[in-house]
Symmetry: C2
Subunit: 236 residues, 2 copies
DNA sequence: CCCGCTAGTGTGGTCAGACCATTACGAAGG
DNA sequence: CCTTCGTAATGGTCTGACCACACTAGCGGG
């Protein structure tokens, strides 16, 4: 039992309960910091600590000045917060790299299966990214940026925002490792060619509703890259 | 491009880079707030905002007083942070309930398959929880607490801390809905009996390495509860 | 010499007040 | 009617102060 509730926790709980009770919804403005401070009987600095947490977690956006775009506004965009959390945990060694990769594997396999099974999934954004990656003039870094977009587009096409957010976060959390791995690959052009072919094959399997093949392909695609880049240790 | 880097971001970036470069590791103490403040040329209140973020994300633990357990200590326990993030996002409607349930489904199925496939997985903690749930004198709330522990124990047995953390967070994020669903079930005793049987069946499938059956059982177990409690709308 | 109490020190937790930068709005002046 | 400048509202930041807490060193009594 926490003997003492810290001041900023009071603010956090108040806002969370306001959200749950429907007193606050996406798009709404939070009361100004000074008003929250006086109404809760809590110093403004403590209020700010709570708002900072909400901001980093992607729940609010803050803006100075006056007018409709100022103040703290509920936005509920989970991407940034999830990415920050995962990135920091990986940095602090709370999340082993292998577990991150394996989780990606689980989620992407599920996404591929869902897309290949669904009849009305919209894969147009995925096709657009794959087409962009066909350019031969891309550097490794540019290629990897598009690759991240591709996997994110797949997750978004599945329509599950939780999976999309987690996958985007996982990918960003290991971004530096992916870049380092690319630098360690001697023949990048050949690797890029192979990756392009795999992307086309995955998309083809999805579009032809061959779900088992889609899952196998994306599984091999991910494990293949990490093995090739010398990052994986023990992926199933 | 962020035109202005806010003061607390500087602190966050400094600590993240210290973690990545190995200058900070789990168990280490952060410099005192006042020292960080002067060394970075940033006000103490801004330093505190950054530390608050790290604390809520489960990266550090703070303690007053002096001695080895005081100050800010790197702990990297992702559970609390993941749970807080998911809970708030669900509250703010950034994460639809259905997507949360579906993600649970994906992760738990993967966990069940991994456990049933692995030869040396230690399922003793899982058995202990299942045994505790066999008591007939449990209230619905107590039963659900144990149920949460059960699913968490399964995830932990798989050895993947990322999946375990996400699953624990997802479960906590929808805890209030699960409780509300239980209250809406008329014949709770019969439901509890059925859930117990399903738990035993799942564990049996895992122990006999019947992975397909384990996946099917856990899938039906979860979808069954949400449908019965009137929570699910569109789970695949 | 040893034990116990006490004053001191270092830490996070909190608050109050001040000032700045930015933005919008409105009134005054052309 | 349009432009311009002042004013207000808001977050962003810093400073300084005080409190609560936990340990530590040193003093005094036995």
């Amino acid at each position: 039992m926490p003997t003492t509730v810290r001041a900023w926790q009071v603010v956090l709980e108040k806002i969370e309960s306001d959200l749950l009770e429907g007193r606050l919804s996406p798009g709404d403005h939070l009361p100004p910091e000074r008003e929250l401070s006086t109404s809760l009987g809590i110093g403004r600095s403590s209020v700010r600590e709570a708002l900072r947490v909400l901001e980093v977690m992607g729940l609010i956006r803050t803006g100075t000045g006056s007018g409709p775009s100022s103040g703290a506004i509920i936005i509920a965009t989970p991407r940034g917060g999830m990415a920050a959390l995962l990135r920091l945990q990986v940095a602090a060694q709370g999340f082993p790299l292998d577990d991150v990769v394996q989780t990606r594997l689980v989620l992407e396999s599920a996404v591929a299966r869902a897309l290949a099974t669904s009849a009305e999934a919209d894969t147009a954004p995925v096709h657009a990214v794959v087409a962009a990656m066909d350019s031969e003039t891309l550097t490794a870094a540019e290629f990897l940026v598009l690759d991240a977009q591709l996997h994110l587009a797949l997750a978004e096409a599945s329509g599950n925002v939780v999976i999309a957010a987690v996958m985007a976060g996982l990918r960003e959390a290991i971004e530096s490792y992916v870049q380092a791995g690319a630098a360690a690959i001697s023949d990048w052009d050949a690797t890029a060619r192979r990756l392009r072919e795999e992307h086309h094959a995955i998309l083809d399997a999805i579009d032809t509703h061959d779900s088992d093949r889609a899952v196998t392909l994306i599984h091999d695609h991910i494990t293949g890259y990490y093995a090739h880049a010398g990052l994986a240790r023990d992926v199933q």
